[in-house]
Amino acid sequence: MEKMETVVKGKPEALCATFDRKEGSDKQTTHYCPGCGHGRVHKLIAEALSDMGLGDKTVFISPVGCSVFAYYYMNTGNVQAPHGRAPAVATGVSRANPNSIVISYQGDGDLAAIGTAEILHAANRGEHLSVFFINNAIYGMTGGQMAPTTLLGQKTQTTPRGRSAMNEGHPIRMAEIIATLEAPIYVERTSCTDTKGIMKTRKAIRKAIKLQSEKKGFTFVEILTACPTGWKKTPSDSIKWIQNELEPYFKPGVYKDVSDKAEPLHRPEMIMDSEEIFKSLGLKKGKTPSSSAAAVEEKRIKIAGFGGQGALTAGVMMATAGMNEGLNVSWIPSYGPEMRGGTANCSVIVSSKRIGNPLVRNPNILIAMNGPSLDAFENDVVQGGTIVVNSSLIERKLSRSDVKAVYVPLTDIAAKVGLKAAANSVALGVFLGLENIFSREGIYEVLKTSLKKKDALEINIKAVNAGFEFAKTL
């Protein structure tokens, strides 16, 4: 038995019935100009999502350009990305929610100019995304400036005499570029023009979304669309212009399709459980109660030396040990571009109270591991503060008398325990000896997590002890 049933084909479910997110009184129509290609492509994507029942698990990433407001219309999850960064945002969404369908929807200015790096690398990593690249050869939203895909000779606001290869280079063919990469599984360019072109576009969009739903990898569909306003043409003439001018240069076709052979790719499951994350990082959850009964006055410490002396590392250890003790801590490094030989310093604050500014301009403790560091920071130390001078490398005495001077041959002591490079651990020991803030065991624990080699660990523990003992003799 067969029966006739009335079918109504209207706005797909994956488009909002009324555009309530849109500003102004008109919640029924889009903000797009008459004859704009965006509306057509929105509808095709929404139709595909609705037909496949994927609307509820889709996150639509809108770019910067006219389609910046795509979230007014798409009845899906939405994130609006900074200019050109849609594939990077989409990567994050896709990795965090591996079962979602993520669509990066971008124009030519967004994808092929400011976002060239993001699209190439997202494609090269084979992210589970469907990228729909709306190519209308112009910057529409900003008023019709030249885009990377603007044709040679095409007049725009910024190429009033027509684009010239000599001055602006050639239009970029993105589908071809993406197709050269190893990871993408499906790359096609279609032309959203007449019924035939629209149907090919529809097919390509559906294929890309279906492949993503099967977890097969990165898909890219470039769609030639009309911008009648930017081109200063009627909608009808715009369609003809795509067919006569754009298509010969940006030839529609499948540029890569290995989707038949592509196996579903499953990335390792992410740890989304906070207990597991704390465990794997070796952290204790929650606020650690302070072990010392006495409140610690805010200690503002600056450790400075030449690159390679371990000034920054000593600061990290100090801050980490303080954190483990349940104190508030901060650490900020400051260094030049050199890995070795330049000067480096860090600001460390340890306090029972909350820390305001983590930057230490006027330390109450300065550890100067070499001459230039002492020259640079001696005068910044507050009256009554302490300056630890590495007397192995610094021959001069302090020029101030209103601070406590502690001369310690840090490098020589380190050499004596077996490793000159452990001068920073000696400095830590001296600090602990002078300022009874937290226990030596706390520092050992921190050393254990950062030094995997047993020999190095032992030497550094010895160095801390040697520094501590030295400070106690003062």
């Binding site: 038995m1 029966k3 129509t29 004859g35």
Partner: protein, 77 residues
């Protein structure tokens, strides 16, 4: 009513008069109105008969909610 299907319905105040549906229609049963709608555009109108339900205008229309196609489809019972 039933013998008039398939039919195309155009939402008067969603049409921006780009006329792409008119160009796409193989049956030439769509045309542009003389009056203007609330948005200030002349809008597409259906002649009232001759629609074959091919969906060409539906896909040609850039305004997602402006065109609705109503047709009858055989379904197995």
């Amino acid at each position: 009513m039933e013998n008039k299907l398939p039919a195309v319905e155009i939402s008067l105040n969603e049409c921006k008069g780009c006329a792409l549906c008119i160009e796409s229609c193989p049956q030439t049963v769509l045309s542009l109105s003389a009056p203007f709608n609330k948005l200030g555009y002349q809008y597409a109108i259906y002649a009232g008969s001759g629609c074959t339900g091919c969906d060409a205008c539906y896909y040609a229309c850039p305004e997602p909610g402006a065109i609705t196609i109503i047709k009858q489809k055989k379904v197995k019972m």
